[in-house]
């Protein structure tokens, strides 16, 4: 296992370095950020001074060398917009995205596994119809529409929930509910399909013939063998959430990394863009390791 982890770490490290180089140079192709930070009437002297303060006058290769040197000490530089360390800015935002993503994916996984398994046990039954309904909703309704409709219904008309913000546990209900729908629909179908295969296998038929009750048939014998593809899809969806849910963050006022990234790209806040990509990439790397470990736990035949 240690050898496996070391190999993965080295491979991921190489990928991260390539990403750093690509993003550093590609982001600077978008142009000079000076015009975005100074008033339109700022003099040429003021613009030159701004470039000097932020090291934008140096040749690109010099800027890159300086950046690499600072990276060794995990110094990603200062945000041009916020005049604070870029890493600090990103980690502040990332904690919100991480919390949203972890809670949502946990709820999605639990609900999808339970409902998908019940749907597979009795194809065409009540649970199967409910599963199909949610899958269709998840695939067809856009996030921003669901979010606005939810706010109009639950906040403005019924007054049950706040419109936005992060203050209390009630503030998290709508954002999580909106984020929940699409991955739930997808994972539900994956669980259903995987479980139909598992539940039609010979050993399950034998268990049912021997009179084993439905619950252990589904959740002990069938589920463990049907989980591998499900774990893969859960991991993929979690990775997407870790990149930040821009729509949910913008509408509900969650200061997450998705909105931070979009704003930083538009404002050419290069240091924050790079720091956000690095932090997110590292988080996804850790998550992939966890998924690989999950494979080994679920299937004893898989060993690293």
């Amino acid at each position: 296992m240690q050898k496996f982890l070391t190999k993965r770490a080295i491979a991921s490290g190489i990928s991260l370095m390539i990403l750093v180089v690509l993003v550093f140079f590609l982001s600077r192709l978008t142009g000079d950020p000076t015009d975005l930070y100074l008033p339109i009437d700022a003099s040429l002297e003021a613009r030159e001074n701004f470039r000097e303060i932020h090291g934008l006058n140096d040749p690109l290769i010099v800027q890159f060398g300086r950046y690499l040197g600072d990276l060794v000490t995990l110094d990603f530089g200062d945000s041009i917009r916020k005049s604070r360390p870029a890493l600090e800015v990103v980690l502040e935002a990332f904690k919100w995205t991480l919390a949203l993503a972890l809670i949502t994916i946990a709820l999605v996984s639990f609900a999808a596994i339970v409902l998908g398994s019940l749907a597979a046990f009795n194809v065409g039954g009540v649970f199967d119809r409910i599963a199909t309904f949610f899958s269709l909703i998840g695939a067809s309704a856009p996030d921003f529409w669901i979010a606005i409709v939810a706010i109009v219904l639950f906040s403005v008309n019924l007054g049950w929930l706040p419109t936005s913000g992060t203050g209390t546990v009630w503030h998290w209900v709508l954002p999580i509910a909106v984020l929940f729908i699409r991955p739930f629909g997808l994972i539900l179908q994956v669980v259903r399909g995987s479980m139909i295969t598992a539940l039609s296998s010979a050993y399950v038929k034998t268990a049912r013939a021997k009179g084993v009750k439905p619950r252990p048939v589904i959740f002990v014998h069938g589920l463990r063998n049907g989980m591998l593809p499900v774990v893969t899809v859960i991991g993929d969806q979690a990775a997407g959430m870790l990149n930040g849910a821009v729509v949910v963050e913008s509408i509900f006022g969650f200061p997450g990394v998705g909105k931070l990234m979009i704003d930083s790209i538009l404002q050419r806040d290069f240091t924050v863009v790079l720091a956000a990509i690095m932090v997110t990439a590292f988080a996804i790397f850790l998550m992939n390791i966890l998924i690989d470990i999950a494979y080994a736990v679920l299937d004893p035949r898989i060993r690293y």
Binding site: D35, N49, T163, S250, F252
Partner: protein, 500 residues
């Protein structure tokens, strides 16, 4: 089962009761974007100004934008010593929120810090660029400020300079200290900023004792927060959300929308073509449809409450027949009127900007002009709007929304119409002299000096296509006694907010 239900209901009740109950004197303000900084020398940015300006940090003088009058604030009086020097008498008995006394040394340091090249202050770049300013301390309550070149509007410029203690480092601060009635109590990045009223303020104690600023980028959500009780003031709502006359106010926001015309490139260098552009537009058709009904047709770069605005100028009429005739006349004279003219508009510049530009393009086509619309994002727009212009450029018009909330044309006219002006599309020696003379005019002569400048731009040169003086919309909870004004575009003085 009963125990479980009871526990569940108790938990719900606890969570509901844990929701904050707003105390007397507390308000919540929903801004459209998060503040990147709380640095006083950046207070010329709208949202930073709404938090900092005259709440935490004060200025020597204060402009009343509704009538253009300059009022005392930290300076009690001022007088012109000579052409390039003004003496300001400072208010005594004023303290900063850290307890230190306000005196002349603080004014000197605030100016030096704002124009320093060590940091990039927006106030310095916007209002004090291109001049050398020296602040001399005469005594603890007197300063003499000398400028080169001479600035007849120096007292007005001092309404932009936020005053900080002389101990403030020359770097952006995270905890601003000022003489204002409030202190920054909390700054939770990404979530909120909380200001609380402080003891020892030199002026009248405000009714608002605590203000919480939250940030919501979605227009509909922001507007809905007042109705649900989550916010009390939303300084900026979308026109489409301004549906409740009890809570929604429109106010002139000191912005003027116009098309900057490149007067140097054919066919736009022909005055007949520029007249045709103006005559082709049915400005009335926009009002109440794509542009708010309360907006007004513009005839000059500044709003009518600005010193020196010319009340005799009239908007161009909608006369497509005359426009066509002018185009044909130009064509007959050899002007290449069929050349494609690029009209550049900025994405998100103002609500319905895309539709407005599409409508303008069609109106120009209807009179025989070949106009191509290009929508660009802000960074590219800045490159096209400001000099240096590309040498090989074709004929171009750029849609812009210019903000002058400082009450004097000097903040607009040089940049937009002088030969060396950064956004100027023309070069006229007579106009340059008129702008220079008006800039140097003082006292009662200043207003009359600017009026002919506006006339020359609008009627004699027909330099640009003026469209509208815009309005903004705010929503204010009914419990508050507060009416947004033109100042709301750039500041929100909590001390002016009362409870009914």
């Amino acid at each position: 089962m009963r125990h479980t239900t009871a526990r569940l209901m108790g938990g719900v009740a606890a969570l509901v009761l844990a929701a904050p109950a707003w105390a007397e004197g507390e308000i919540t303000i929903a801004l459209n974007e998060e503040l990147e900084l709380v640095e006083p020398c950046m207070a010329s940015q709208s949202n930073i100004g709404r938090v900092i300006l005259q709440n935490i940090s004060e200025t020597l003088t204060e402009l009343d934008p509704t009538n253009g009058q300059l009022k005392p604030r930290l300076a009690e009086s001022w007088e012109e010593v000579d052409a390039d020097t003004w003496r300001f008498k400072l208010r005594s008995g004023v303290t900063f929120s850290d307890g230190s006394a306000f005196d002349a040394a603080d004014v000197k340091h605030s100016m030096e810090r704002t124009v320093s090249t060590t940091i990039s202050c927006e106030i310095g770049a916007k209002f004090f660029g291109g001049m050398k300013i020296d602040v001399a301390v005469v005594d603890d309550t007197t300063v003499e400020i000398t400028s080169d070149p001479a600035q007849p509007i120096l007292p007005l410029l001092m309404s932009t300079l936020t005053i900080v203690p002389s101990e403030t480092p020359v770097e952006f601060v995270q905890t601003p200290v000022g003489t204002g009635p409030y202190v920054l109590a909390e700054w939770n990045a990404g979530q909120n900023i909380i200001l609380t009223a402080r003891e020892g303020y030199w002026g009248e104690a405000p009714q608002v004792t605590k203000a919480t600023y939250v940030f919501r980028s979605d227009d509909a959500v922001r507007a809905a927060m007042v109705g649900t009780g989550e916010a009390d003031i939303v300084p900026l709502i979308n026109q489409n959300d301004a549906t409740n006359p009890a809570t929604d106010f429109s106010y002139p926001n000191s912005e003027t929308t116009y098309l900057r015309v490149d007067n140097m490139t054919a066919p736009l260098n022909d005055i007949r073509v520029r007249k045709a552009l103006n005559l082709a537009i049915d400005r009335d058709a926009f009002l109440g449809t794509l542009i708010p009904a309360d907006a007004t047709k513009a005839v000059q770069m500044v709003v009518p409450t600005t010193l020196g605005s010319n009340p005799d100028l009239q908007p161009w009429p909608f006369d497509p027949d005359q426009a066509k005739a002018l185009v044909e006349e130009a064509r007959a004279a050899g002007v290449p009127v069929d050349t494609e003219i690029e009209m550049v508009c900025r994405i998100g510049n103002f609500p319905n900007v895309t539709e407005v530009c599409e409508a303008l393009q069609q109106m120009f086509a209807d009179v025989g002009l070949n106009v191509k619309l290009t929508m660009v994002e802000v960074a590219e727009w800045v490159q096209l709007y400001s000099k240096p212009f590309a040498e090989d450029r074709g004929p171009r018009m750029v849609m812009a929304m210019h903000d002058n909330n400082r009450g004097d044309p000097v903040f607009s006219m040089y940049f937009k119409y002088a030969c060396e002006g950064l956004q100027s599309g023309l070069c006229d020696a007579d106009l340059d002299k008129m702008i220079a003379d008006a800039t140097a005019a003082t006292g009662d002569a200043r207003g009359p000096a600017w009026q002919p400048v506006f006339k020359k731009v609008h009627e004699d040169l027909v330099a640009d296509v003026f469209l509208f003086h815009m309005v903004g919309f705010s929503r204010v909870a009914e419990k508050l006694d507060f009416v947004p004004t033109i100042a709301t575009n750039s500041e929100l003085q909590l001390a002016q907010i009362k409870f009914k």
